[in-house]
Symmetry: C2
Subunit: 385 residues, 2 copies
């Protein structure tokens, strides 16, 4: 049945962190599994004997088989550890399925590929396996992402409310008689996410100069007059689909430089959103943001804007695809990519000034024929008092 | 400086899920980084320009360099997407560092290895890179694991308290006028973990027949008289070190089969704990548990115990190493491995009967010269009323 120039796909890894396997199996397990994908419903999931019963109930695959059938326990005994035995397990699966040639994805380990090749299995790695299927979200997938995004906005609003209600003393924010920290806000956000069935790997609630590093998670204190970046990226624990959103807020009166950054980022983000539509080049979306920054005197990383001298700069791409991974294809940045109906991407320009911090605004959108549908309708309010 | 038969290590991946990179850099980032490890303090971390500033503050490496130096943005433009460009980035890093031969770890992608080999860089995958260093925990690492384990016990106790306080009606547990679910307990556990600086990928709070699948996460209802498995495996958000523990509890009077399972598991776990010491074979620890089960008429997966016919069976290994990964070397199961002082492993035998559910008891221990130090001193109480 195998078409020679299109051999089956052999996937290997633990499914929490190998989204292709989860995409094709719907099965979560903390130890590695093997999936043989012949296309369509013809998928075979190999799990440990301990997981096979659960897999038969939970996995969306054509068949579940136990590695006990291949005497994997015996293999482990011979080689001395489970970690060393995976290559042999893959060899046994290929032999059992009569596979002499397989395609593998970006995550497939070199050590396993080398082993299979020594056993005369041709291994063809492809960086883009499932990329086209996964980038275009089905209505179900958009609904799952929307559920996560809604939960994120709910949690984000709680953090904003805490900031709005904070006391001000000695130039910083306080709650219940002690300084309010970024970590306090993270706890507010992530506790609420849990209540809504979501969780995350990290949250960014960071204010002042520390927030000039876009991925700096928290700051010890939150200063009056300086921006506080709230970047929330949850995933739903059942569906595993992510959401992503950023708002930047301030208490008190920011210096004019910061107000100017906010105005620029708000306008740049709108320019980016306006540029999104099916058929648009992602680079043009990115450059639409860069152009706004340029007009206001801010430089960007992209070559045409790199030589603009400014303290505050746009030092990352405009956005990224999102689904079963927080960052997935396509990136919206300084690369050519044609956006398609059903792409779900972020639009999140930002400016970063080491003296004051960062300002970033991020919405998540679904690309449509003539524009996009915004999944992040939470207000963009900078000054909270 | 490079010794020909011991070339530098080239690590690649995003650090949340590549513990070797975090182990050698202490740096967390959601996008891939490259680490060149010449040994000792001679490590070079390559990050995106956006992350370089933060990496210089946060990473424990010899040097941080930005991929901007290699014009990675230009590479992306040529190849069209970031995902396709990683192989080229690795090639440029090798060229810049003058590397003609590298060792790579288990996670290194085949697609990148193939590319480097085409560029005349010899790529040598090793399954066991950093394994020996990582398995033996330093006093700092034991302290970090202890902090996580303490947080887990605190959260676990809250779940036990909720079960103990639940109302009983129609054969199931209730709280606040509605049935208490496994998901409710997960929320109790994980909310508390967050307050203590920890989080997790999942928690198991599952009762009744559903818990006969050892990794089934939750059950809709919790039945009176049937075991409820609480398996909590948090990690600390700052140190990234895991903990792991399981208790099984019951409300009401269990059937005699379940009481017998509990008695057997408690005795088997003690036998396992008693067998742990430096120099012991992990298999003997595993067989110590299997022997107890055998004496009580229960079968196990391991060959000498496989043919014992019983409804309830021991269908997994006795334990696993733990550190920056929830499951890491060494496994304590049906394989030969000599335990060493400083190994941190779980001891978690269990019995699973599809009619009633699972019973599992799990402690985390540090291996010592003449035994082990138990990091999970929370009481082992089955019946809560």
């Amino acid at each position: 049945m195998t078409v020679p120039d299109n051999p089956p796909v052999l996937l290997f890894g633990e499914t929490y962190h190998h989204p292709n396997i989860f995409y094709r199996s719907g099965f979560l397990a903390p130890d590695p599994v093997v999936l043989v994908d012949h296309g369509g419903d013809d998928t075979v999931l190999w799990t440990s004997p301990m997981e096979a019963g659960r897999a038969r109930k939970e996995a969306r695959v054509g068949a579940v088989r136990s590695t006990e059938e291949l005497d994997f326990a015996g293999v482990m005994q011979r080689v001395g550890s489970e970690q060393d035995a995976w290559s042999t397990l893959l060899e046994l699966v290929c032999r059992e399925a009569g596979l002499h040639s397989v395609r593998v994805d970006f995550d497939f380990p070199a050590i396993c590929a080398d082993h299979l090749r020594r056993q005369d299995v041709a291994v063809h790695p492809h960086a883009d396996l499932y990329r086209e299927e996964r980038r275009i979200k089905t209505p179900d997938e958009v609904a799952w992402i929307t559920t996560t995004e809604d939960a994120g906005m709910d949690a984000l609003q709680r953090a904003i409310d805490v900031i709005a209600a904070a006391d001000i003393k000695d130039g910083i924010l306080w709650r219940d008689g002690r300084p309010l920290s970024g970590q306090d806000l993270v706890l507010t956000v992530e506790s609420r996410l849990l209540e809504l069935g979501c969780t995350t790997i990290d949250s960014i609630c960071c204010g002042g100069p520390e927030s000039a590093d876009p991925h700096r998670a928290t700051s010890e204190v939150l200063r009056v007059g300086l921006p506080i970046v709230l970047d929330i990226f949850p995933f739903h624990k059942a569906t595993r689909y992510w959401g992503d959103m950023t708002r930047t807020v301030v208490r008190g009166t920011p210096p004019p430089e910061v107000t100017a950054m906010w105005d620029a980022v708000l306008e740049a983000q709108q320019a980016g959103l306006d540029a999104v539509r099916a058929g648009a080049n992602g680079r043009d979306v990115h450059y639409a943001c860069c152009e706004v920054f340029k007009q206001r005197g801010y430089g960007s990383l992209a070559k045409p804007y790199r030589d603009i001298k400014s303290e505050a700069r746009f030092i990352h791409g405009t956005g990224h695809g999102l689904g079963l991974e927080i960052h997935e294809y396509p990136r919206v940045g300084d690369v050519d990519v044609t956006l398609e109906v059903g792409d779900v991407v972020t639009v999140e320009p930002g400016l970063y000034d080491p003296r004051f911090g960062g300002v970033r605004i991020e919405d998540l959108v679904v690309v449509t024929e003539d524009g996009c549908r915004n999944l992040t309708p939470i207000a963009k309010v900078f000054r909270l008092d």
